[in-house]
């Protein structure tokens, strides 16, 4: 049976667990809402990961891990047009620029981080392709999945908890009326500040997430901490509730609607 389905029914953590236990070799392809992720495994260990079109050339990864300077990065990028990652890595190690450990550690950190990003994908089609191997020009690593699985299940619990606390992102936020509370005296993280600057009954949480480039998990996390701090409360977008009697009543005539309410009230009273 081909291993395929939707992340809604089978989470990344469950998939990693399966790959780990069955010591699987192959590539897990996940088609998320905006991007496609490819994660390769050898005998149940993480070998390679790539999300969408993110630049995963070796020089860029080394720069991100501060193993090389921007000037060296520029130089290596020029080299990279004629050399693939494997050749470039070999050259760097042989020339004594970097140790083999430096190179592998940087790649591991990069791949593990890519898998971590996948934990925030709540939706997407996945399939495990035993026939697909990682790109031949890439340097592969061997990372045990256990720690990632533990991290993933922790995140999943957090995600479930947050979804329970904040079920709908189509609601808006407003500051609680607490005279005397000065925002300036409260310690907020950078993310929290970014969200705070958009707090307004006109903006839904979904819109705020879009504006601040946060995904569903990240925005919920920030809103939750603001709720816990008692700074904001969840309100209907647009401020004051506006009920729509057109849908609620079989008639659009206001007088008739009132009449229905009066009849309902006296009927219930008479029960």
């Amino acid at each position: 049976m081909a291993l395929k389905g939707n992340l809604r029914d089978f989470t990344i953590t469950q998939l990693l667990n399966l790959i780990n236990l069955a010591c699987k070799t192959g590539t897990l392809v996940i088609e998320g809402p905006g991007e496609v992720a490819r994660t390769a495994f050898r005998e149940g260990k993480l070998a390679y990961a790539q999300i969408g079109q993110h630049d995963d050339a070796l020089p860029t990864i080394l720069l991100k891990n501060r193993k090389i300077s921007p000037a060296q990065h520029k130089f290596l990028q020029e080299k990279a047009t004629t050399m693939n990652d494997k050749e470039l890595g070999l050259l760097l190690v042989n020339a004594g620029y970097l140790s083999q450990e430096d190179v592998l550690d940087s790649l591991q950190a990069y791949y593990v981080d890519a898998v971590r990003q996948l934990f925030t994908w709540a939706e997407g089609f996945f399939r495990f392709e035993q026939e697909i191997s990682p790109p031949g020009d890439k340097i592969l690593v061997r990372v045990d999945l256990e720690n990632l699985i533990i991290e993933g299940s922790r995140q999943l619990r957090e995600w479930e908890h947050l979804q329970e606390e904040i079920p709908s992102l189509d609601m808006a936020l407003k500051f609680t009326d607490r005279p005397g509370t000065n925002l300036r005296d409260i310690n907020l993280s950078v993310e929290e500040w970014r969200v705070v600057s958009y707090v307004n009954p006109q903006n839904t949480m979904r819109q705020i997430a879009k504006a601040t480039k946060m995904n569903d998990l990240e925005i919920r996390r920030v809103v939750y901490s603001l709720l816990q701090a008692g700074l904001v409360e969840i309100v209907r977008p647009g401020g004051a509730p506006v009920i729509n009697p057109k849908k609620m009543f079989p008639t659009s005539d206001r007088v008739e609607q009132k009449g229905i309410m009066d009849k309902l009230i006296s009927r219930i009273r008479s029960l």
């Binding site: 509730p241 009920i243 008639t251 009132k258 309902l264 009230i265």
Partner: protein
Amino acid sequence: MQTVKIVVTGPFNSGKTQFIQTVSEIDVVSTERKVTAEAEKIKESTTVAMDFGRITVDDDLVLYLFGTPGQKRFDFMWEILSEGMLGFVVMVDSTRPETFREARSILETFRAYAPTPFVVAANKQDKADAWELNDMRVALRLDSKIKLLPCTATKKQPVKAVLLELLYSILAEMEAGEA
């Protein structure tokens, strides 16, 4: 024939079926099935479809009461049920604080579907281990503007009172909307 509806929601075992049964003139139509999930064994059977009760107002007007299936796996039905409702009642079992968080979550979900008024019913107040209303208000994080009412779903008077409070809120909203 004109119809209007009120939705009764809340966690599993909070007393939704009982609430509707107490005031409905027909036997509550609910698809009761044996539930095997470990967590739901507290009760012999649970509602997997929905409860459906009726109160005839006069020759021309009927009030329907819909109870939502409490379990999360049926929440796709909630949105359909909430379409066009006059308002909703959130039932909470006052003796089971471990369900308060879920009740709060259900409340938030329904509030997001429609801007209709709602009341929270602190049910099973007849039981000795029922929480007091003030404590429940804090635990459920209910703003002082939200109506939290004592309820014993097995008795007619408190169920009537909860429905009336909801109807008063709806009327008040309509009047506020006109002003």
